[in-house]
Symmetry: D2
Subunit: 341 residues, 4 copies
C-alpha cells in the first residue's frame, strides 16, 4: 500500500466534495463565480462566520491568495508585518514582493508574532523622523495554524487586533490549514472570532479536503472592484463553480470541521507513535503537522520507504522532518508508519 506523510495535499478531494462535483457537473451556470453554487457556499460561510454581510471570493491557491489579498489591502506606502517564519516570507518565492509588497519581519515565537514586539515595531516606525523614507506598517499577517502547526489563543488574537485598530493597520489571517486549527484540542478560536477581529482572512480548501480553492472572507466588505483586481492578477477562474461547489460541500453538515478533526486526531496518534519509537518532536503542536527531529542516517533510511517533508537542519547531525496528516490519513497509514520506524 502507498502511504505518505509528506504533506496534507497528497490526495484528491474528500469523497463528499467529489460527489458534489459529480452531481452538479452538467448543470449550466454562469462563469467567474457568479454561479448558484458559489452563491450558496458564500451564504453558508457567512452563516458559519456569524457575519451576514461578509464579502467572499474564491481563489485557486494559497500563495496566490496571499499575494492578491495583501496587495489589495496595502496602500502604496505600506508593507506587511509578519513573523520571520511566515509562509509569505519564506515559502512563496517572493510572490508578495513581486506585487511590490515589502515584508517587515519580526522574530517568531513558536511560529507566532508576539503582540508586544508588534506594538513596539509599529510605534517605533510611526515615530521615526525618517518615516517618509521608510515603509509604513500597513497590514499584519498571521498564519493560523502557523507554519509550525501552532495556534494563537483568543487572547493573543484580541491583543494583536487591538494594536491594529489603535494604529490603523489591517489584520489578515492566512488560514491555509484552518480546519485543523479550528478543531484542535483546547483552542478557543472560532470563525466568528476571526470575522470579528480580522479585516480579511482565508479559509483554506486545498489542504482541507478540496482539489483546490481558498475562500477569502472580508468581514467588513472588500476592496473596491476586487473582482477586477483578481482578474488582473490572473487569479479569476472561468469555472468559478469549481470552487463554489467544493466550498458548498465543505460547509454542508459540518464537513469542514469533520475533516479538521480527522487530521487532528490522526496527528495525535502519530505523535504517540513517534514517541514510542523514541523520535523527539521539535516542538509540541496541537494540529495536523508534527515536526520530528531525526538523526540524519535515520532520516535517510526512512525517506526511502515513505515520503516525509524536509523542514530544516538544526545541526549537522540532525534533520527536522514534517509529518503531516489530513482527512485521508487512515489507520493503515499509521500502522504502516509504526512498522517502518
Amino acid at each position: 500500500m502507498m502511504i505518505t506523510f509528506e504533506n496534507d495535499y497528497s490526495c484528491g478531494a474528500h469523497p463528499a466534495v467529489l460527489a458534489r462535483l459529480l452531481e452538479t457537473n452538467l448543470v449550466p451556470q454562469p462563469g467567474y463565480g457568479e454561479d448558484r453554487y458559489s452563491e450558496s457556499a458564500r451564504t453558508k460561510i457567512r452563516a458559519a462566520c456569524g457575519c451576514p454581510d461578509a464579502e467572499i471570493h474564491f481563489l485557486s491557491g494559497g500563495t496566490q491568495t496571499n499575494a492578491v489579498v495583501l496587495a489589495s489591502l496595502l496602500k502604496p506606502w505600506e508593507g506587511v508585518v509578519a513573523a520571520q517564519t511566515g509562509h509569505i516570507h519564506v515559502h512563496e518565492a517572493g510572490a508578495p514582493e513581486a506585487l511590490g509588497a515589502k515584508i517587515l519581519a519580526l522574530p517568531e515565537h513558536l511560529g507566532k508574532l508576539d503582540p508586544a514586539e508588534l506594538r513596539s515595531l509599529v510605534r517605533t516606525l510611526l515615530a521615526d523622523e525618517n518615516v517618509e523614507h521608510m515603509v509604513y506598517p500597513g497590514v499584519v499577517y498571521l498564519s493560523h495554524p502557523t507554519e509550525w502547526g501552532t495556534l494563537y489563543s483568543r487572547a493573543e488574537l484580541e491583543a494583536i487586533s487591538a494594536i491594529c485598530r489603535e494604529y490603523g493597520l489591517r489584520l489578515y489571517l492566512d488560514g491555509a490549514r484552518l480546519a485543523y486549527g479550528l478543531t484542535a484540542e483546547g483552542t478557543d478560536v472560532d470563525l466568528p472570532l476571526l470575522a470579528r477581529l480580522c479585516d480579511a482572512f482565508y479559509i483554506g480548501g486545498t489542504k482541507c479536503g478540496a482539489l483546490c480553492g481558498e475562500a477569502v472572507v472580508f468581514p467588513k466588505g472588500g476592496p473596491v472592484h476586487f473582482r477586477n483586481f483578481i482578474k488582473k492578477h490572473g487569479a479569476m477562474m472561468a469555472k468559478g463553480r469549481l470552487c463554489g461547489v467544493q466550498f458548498d460541500a465543505l460547509f454542508t453538515d459540518g464537513l469542514y470541521f469533520e475533516i479538521g478533526r480527522r487530521g487532528v486526531e490522526t496527528a495525535r496518534r502519530l505523535k504517540t507513535i513517534l514517541a514510542k519509537h523514541g523520535v523527539p518532536c521539535f516542538m509540541d503542536t496541537p494540529t495536523n503537522q508534527q515536526f520530528a527531529i531525526l538523526e540524519n542516517g535515520r532520516y535517510a533510511a526512512l525517506r526511502e520507504k515513505l515520503p516525509v517533508g524536509f523542514w530544516s537542519c538544526p545541526d549537522p547531525e540532525h534533520t527536522v522532518v514534517r509529518f503531516a496528516t489530513a482527512w485521508y490519513t487512515t489507520d493503515e497509514y499509521l500502522e504502516e508508519l509504526d512498522r517502518l520506524l
Copy 2:
C-alpha cells in the same frame, strides 16, 4: 430544461475527465506537478505534439498562463506584439501590464495579425534611431482560434514564425480553445506544426473539457527555473495532480479531439438554426463560437430566455452576440434554441 450558449465554460468537466479524477482520488502523490498523472499527461502531450523534448507545465487558467508565460519570455527591454482584438489586450484586465509587459498592438483582420504588417512594425521599430527609448518587439502573441473564432492557416503561421526567427522574436500562441481549432473543418494546423513553429503555446483545458487547467508547451525547452517563476506569480497548484489527471484523460484515446469535434459540429448546426431564423452572422467562423447580429429588441427578448454573451455594439440599433457551443452542447440545447428564436 436549463440551457446556455453564453460561453464554453458553463458546465463542469467532460464525464470521462471527472471519472478519472474519481478513480485516482485516493492515490497519494507528490504535490506541485511532480505526481505520476502529470508526468503521464506530459508524455502523452509530447507524443501528440511529436516533440519528445518539450517541457510542459500545467497552470490553472488562461489569463494567468498568458501573463506568466509572456513575462517569462520577455527580456526587460521588450514588449509583446498582438492584434488589437487579442485577449491579452482587451479582456485580461491589464494582467500583462501588471507584470510590466507593454503590448504593441497591430490592426486585426478577422481577429488575426497580418504577417506583412507584423514585419513592417518590427522592421520599423528596430531601425528607429530612438529605439533605446522605445519598447523592442520581443514576443508575438497569437490566439488560435482567435477571439472571433477564426483560424490561422498553416501558411500564415509559417510566415509569422519566419518573421520571428528572422528578427529574433519568440512566437507564443494562446490556445484557450485549441480543441475547437484543431478539429475545425478545413484547417491544416495541427499540434506538431505548433510545436515546430512556436517557442511556447498552451493547450486550453478550461474551455475544452476540464474543470480548470491549461497545458503550457515549450517545444524547445522552457525558461530557467520556470517552476519558481510560476510559484512567484501565484500560479503553482499544490495539488498539481488536479491538472495532471485531467490532461491525462483529455489526451487518452483522443478525447481532446472528440471534445473539439463536438463543439465544432454543434456550432455548425447552430449556424444553420440562426440562418433559418434570419439572424445574420457578424463573420463566418469555423469553430465553436458564432457571433450573431441581433436587433437590440430581439437581443433583449432573447437574453431573458437564455444566456448568450454580449460582445459589442456595431451601431446603436444592433448588438453582436456570442453563441458558444462546447462538448456539453446537446441536441436538446439546439432544439431549445430553435424554439426560442
Copy 3:
C-alpha cells in the same frame, strides 16, 4: 562654431538659472525639497497658476514624472487614455507599464486627442458588460505642446476636462515643453487655465532652461503620502534644492516665459529658412519644434554637418526630421543653418 537643432536639451542651464545656483551654493539647507528655495519656487508657481492651495513637487525628469504621477493617480483597476503618439506610449521605453499602467491608445489628430473619440471610448468601456475583465479608463494623458509641437485650444481642453468630470476620470497634462506652448502665437491657454482644468500637470524645466527638473502641480492637492511614493520610485532627490533653486529662478521676473518666447521666435525664423530652401514641413506647428520632410540623400548630407533629430520615415525616399530651437538658439545658429541648407 558648434551648433545643433537636434533637440531642446543640448546646452546646460539658462545663465540666470546657473547664476542663482552659484549664488545659493554654500547656504546650508535641509534635504529632500524642504529647503527654502524649493518653498520659494512653490510660492511663485502657485501665484503664476492663480492657485494658492496647489501642492507642488519637483522631480528630476519627464519620463520619471509621467510614470510616478500616473501611477499615483490610477486606481488598481484603471488605465490611462492617451493619443497613439503620446510620449508615454512611444518614447518612454514602457515606463508606465513597468509600474503596471496600461495605456488605452486613441488615434491622434495632429498629435492630439479628439474629445468626441475620448467620450466615445469612455462611454463604450464603462457600458461594456465585460468591463470587469477590462481596464477602466482612469486618467486622460495630454501633452501640451504635443510630441508634434501642436497645441490644444482652450475650448478643446475645456471639452476634455468636462468629459473627465462627467465620468470621474482625472486629467493629467505633460508640460515637458510648456514654456514654448504658453508663449506660442495665438494660444489661449495659460497656467491658471491648466490649474483649473487638470488634476495634475507638470511644468517642464529640463527642456525649458533648467539643468534638470520638472515641477508637478496638483491644483486640488496631491495623493496621500506622495513624498513617500516619490521616494519609493527612486525619484526623490537628496539635494532637492537643485530643483528648488532652478524653478525659483525660472519663475522670477518672468524668466520661464522669456525662455519660451525665445524658443518660439527662433522656431518661426527657422521655418522661414526651411521654406526659403524649399524644405516642406510635415505639419504646421506654432511652438519650438519644427518637423521637416527631407529627401533621404539630403538628410544624410545635412546630418554630417549638423545634428538634427530623426523622427520617422513617411515613405522609403523621405525622412521626417525634427529641428528644435530653445532658449540657447542664437542668431548664429540660424545663420549657420541657412548656410548649410
Copy 4:
C-alpha cells in the same frame, strides 16, 4: 552664521564642480549621456579604477541607482542579501521591492555583513529541498561606508567576493559616501580593489561634492540594453551632461579624494569636540558620519540651535544623533558646534 551637521548633502556643489558646469554651459552636446563630458568622466573613472573596460553609467540619485542596478542584476528567481541595517532595507521606502526584489536580511555587525553568516545563509538556501518555493540568493549588497559610517577591510571584501564567486552570486557595493571611505585613516580599500571584486558598484556624487549624480561601474561590462532599462525606470537624464561634467570635475586632479579627506578630517575634529563635551559616540567610525548618544533633553535643546540627524532611540532616555561632515564643513562649523554644546 548658518551651520549644519544634519547630513552631507546640505550645500550645493563643490566650487570646482560648479565652475566646470559654468564653463561648459553653452557648448551644445548630445543628450542622454552621449556627450563628450560624460565620455571624459568615464575615461577618468576607468583610469582611477584601473579597469579600462569598465562600463559606466550616470544616474541621478542613490535610491534610484540601487533599485535599478539591483533589478538589472537579479534573475527572476533571485533576491538580494543585505545587512538588516542596509540602506535598501531601511531607508528606501521599499524601492527594491517596488521592482520585485526581495531582500534576504542578515544580522549586522557594526553595520556590516559577516562573511561566515553570508556563507551559511547561501549554503542553507541552496541546499533546501524546498528551494523552488523560495527566493534564491542572487546578489550581495554592501554599503561602504555603511550606514553607521564603518568600513569593510580588504580582507573582508575578499572573503565576501570569494563566497559570491563560489556560489555564482553577484557582488554589488553602494558607495553613496565612497569618497569618505576611500580616504579614511587606515583603510586598505581602493577603487581598483572594488573593480576587481565587485560585479557592480557606484561612486557616490550627491554626498561627495556634486549637485546630484552617481556613477555606476560595471567592471566586467553591464547588463544587455542597460540604457533602455535605465530609461524604463525613469532614471535616464535628458541632460546627461549634468552628471558627466560633474564627475569629470570630481575625477580631475584628485578632487574626489580631496573632498573625502576634508570630510574625514573634519569628522575627526568633530569627534574630539564631542569628547571634550562629554558626549559619547555610539560606535567608533573612521568616516564622515559620527553617531553620538545624547540624553533626550540635551538633544531637544541642541536641535533648536543647529540641525542634526535623528537616528534611533536606544532607550527611552537617550537618542542617537548623526553628525555628518562634508566637503563644505569649515572651521567655523566646528567652532560653532564647540560653542553650542
